[in-house]
Symmetry: C2
Subunit: 437 residues, 2 copies
């Protein structure tokens, strides 16, 4: 097996027409399952006039309603806490993951059953194997191991594939760097920001990472993994090849899908080579049917034959190119300006505010909230401290700096407010900057 | 299955003579495997005149040489980094765990293969199921998820058993407490000290833990889980039943064994009901043969029939009763005074020192090192800071306070030095104090 370039040669090199026939068959099963098990899905399908037996080609996909993150959150309001789109009793779930929501303090809540969990590990194996990871590798996972999905799937895939898998949970950066070197790790998984942070720490410790045994970096959680200049910097500092992965809590990180690319305005498919919004239908979900889910990520799909690897699957050239909405990714965490605003607005003492993103020490993305508090009697210190805590709690413990600024410092808006200022340095060209998430 | 009180009714209620026949058969296989795959074991067995075909009854166990933690560490010196007792090429390992060693900065290094890993999860399932944990339970794991073995086995068992398993990796205490309550956790795993810490945090947050959905606590890593008064306090604060587990990194936490109880001086078996040292032979190790491994833990074995649960397996009445050696357990981490001394002695500026264990805020065990530095020109601040870091690095990041004290404050010794002072409060009676680890 070690000699094949593919994890699953049959599926990875299947003729396009067979791939499509398989997709149609799986789509039909998915619609039938959702229709019979989830009343909320059944109503949507009925309203759209879709039944499973009508699914005869991939074109029929277009008739299925598109689902958004707001739909998911609305479902949680209607059927708390896990929402309207759950096909199996909660008792059958073995994992739970959350990510910051779009509207305020409520997170997006996702349950996974045994099937999801096995599927996620299997899907990561496709990716790891294709990137050259083999059973002899020593894989260090720089990740916090909580209910944030992060690299959980990769962790299980590492074990499944037979790598010596080193979980770097509760460890300080210097301990992680030392363990990577001491254990002769050959593959390291982290966010791009953290890869740069570890490189900085290694220099401080007098460790030559570029001369270490690390050969591959698996990046995720931030746009930087697909920004060529940042990727180049990371690769140079580590003396290793970097690969990016695109995941979403709702999808269980990377999974096998039908991948559509739609014009975000008209919802019509765009041609190969054109930029559009990634919309996914997953066949690996055993708990929550995911059909035509809007990712809000911008991608450019090209045919598999544009790569010489022999796989027949389509590719996203350049990875994730940007966002349709105003969501920002800060050190792996989703930040929606409107969710931040909802939390800030719970403090009536705060008159005006600004969300400020910047790059510290030339490499670390930070987020701070600048606030004006006109009432001189107000306990400004207490308010900013509480707000910091509330924002962190709603964003997987992401560190927000909340700073009081002088009255009248922040701009005021009459109509469309623009309270987010993104001063982050994107290492690279102006063209890459436009693609910044 | 949910209705049986046993995870594996066949094994748990097997007649004693069948248990023993099975043990003999497995022991014979183990000796044969160790003999054929590990030259270091083969030599020991040859020197003792033991061959697999001679193993005909459990009495033959006595002829196999006893192995100590020092043997393990010596093996690592002779065949770095994983030692002389490895039966399978490193490339086949999928996990690595370390724990603080007995002599200095070098940890005990343990590799696990796929077989070990599956076995560990299966063994934890026996324990969890017997304690009443069922697939409908929501299990929160308050644990750091690094290469410290801790609750890794429990985590996998939770998934295997079908519990909704919530990993509490990189989270602050208040976030953990909130998630336990928000998610309706029914089972919580932590060290005893941390269970008390979470209870304290819950009070500060105005959360009534005793009124929460938590029904069971799985404790590990500290003696307190088997000290009746501490256990009682934890149970009261959580309004939940607490169960203790005895694990060791070398054994992969809880596993199925032949369990011997020996007089630590004569190495002869003691009778049921008498205190002695726990010595284990494991049948679940797929990487490192563990035969007659000295745990240095003191236990009292009683026959299975002394409990009405129906299991035929012997029991350790009162759990772990104390230690044969001077090892201390501080917040789940093993601390050997001689290992601390070896690290302190690398700083020749330090003239005398003392290891001081105490209880902070009436409930949190702390360790500090008091040092005298006679040379007034020495950079005392730098030395104490470096020493703190070195001690933490050698002890899974355990926090050591290093404090300079006035010259002549610490006692001096002519012959047997006693540089460890244990002022920890043991909640309970004087009798329990004697059993303190």
């Amino acid at each position: 097996m070690t000699d094949s370039p593919y994890w699953n040669p049959r599926h990875e090199t299947m003729a396009r027409k067979d791939v499509e026939a398989l997709q149609v068959r799986k789509l039909r099963n998915l619609v039938e399952w959702a229709d019979s098990q989830v009343p909320w899905q059944a109503k949507r399908l009925r309203d759209a006039g879709v039944t499973a037996d009508q699914i005869r080609s991939l074109d029929d996909l277009q008739r299925i309603p598109i689902m958004t993150r707001d739909d998911w959150m609305q479902g949680q309001v209607e059927e708390p806490p896990f929402g309207s789109n759950v096909a199996v009793p909660r008792e059958s779930a073995i994992r739970y993951h959350m990510t910051s929501g779009t509207t305020g303090k409520t997170p997006i809540r996702v349950l996974d059953g045994m099937k999801d969990w096995e599927w996620i590990a299997e899907m990561w194996c496709y990716g790891l194997w294709g990137f050259g990871v083999r059973p002899r590798d020593v894989l260090f996972v720089a990740f916090g191991y909580s209910t944030f999905i992060g690299f959980w799937g990769l962790h299980y895939a590492g074990e499944k594939l037979g790598c010596l898998t080193l979980p770097g949970g509760a460890m300080a950066t210097d301990q992680r760097v030392k363990q990577i070197v001491d254990m002769g790790a050959t593959v390291v998984a982290s966010t791009p920001t953290y890869a740069l942070r570890m490189a900085q720490e290694a220099r401080a410790l007098g460790i030559d990472l570029a001369g270490s045994s690390v050969q591959r970096l698996i990046l995720s959680g931030e746009p930087a993994g697909s920004i060529p200049a940042t990727k180049k910097l990371i690769q140079e500092e580590w003396g290793a090849r970097a690969g990016d992965t695109a995941g979403m809590t709702e999808l269980g990180t990377i999974m096998i899908y039908i991948e559509e690319v739609l014009d975000p305005e008209s919802d019509r498919p765009v041609a190969h080579g054109e930029m559009g919004e990634r919309v996914v239908t997953s066949f690996g979900r055993g708990f929550i049917p995911v059909m035509r889910y809007r990712t809000r990520d911008l991608v450019v799909k090209v045919p598999g034959m544009s790569c010489r690897c022999g796989r027949t699957w389509d590719l996203y050239e350049g990875g994730i190119r940007g966002r349709v909405d105003d969501m920002k990714l800060v050190r792996g965490t989703n930040v929606y300006p409107r969710a931040v605003e909802a939390i800030v607005r719970e403090h009536p003492e705060i008159d005006e505010f600004q969300i400020h993103l910047y790059t510290a020490e030339g490499r670390r993305d930070e987020i701070e909230i600048l606030v004006e508090i006109p009432d001189q009697e107000a306990d400004a210190g207490g308010i900013t401290a509480r707000l910091e805590k509330e924002l962190a709690d709603a964003h997987e413990a992401l560190r927000f700096g909340v700073k009081q600024v002088d009255l009248g410092t922040l701009p005021r808006f009459e109509l469309k407010a623009k309270r987010l200022v993104d001063d982050r340095i994107v290492i690279g060209t102006e063209g890459e900057r436009r693609a910044q998430v």
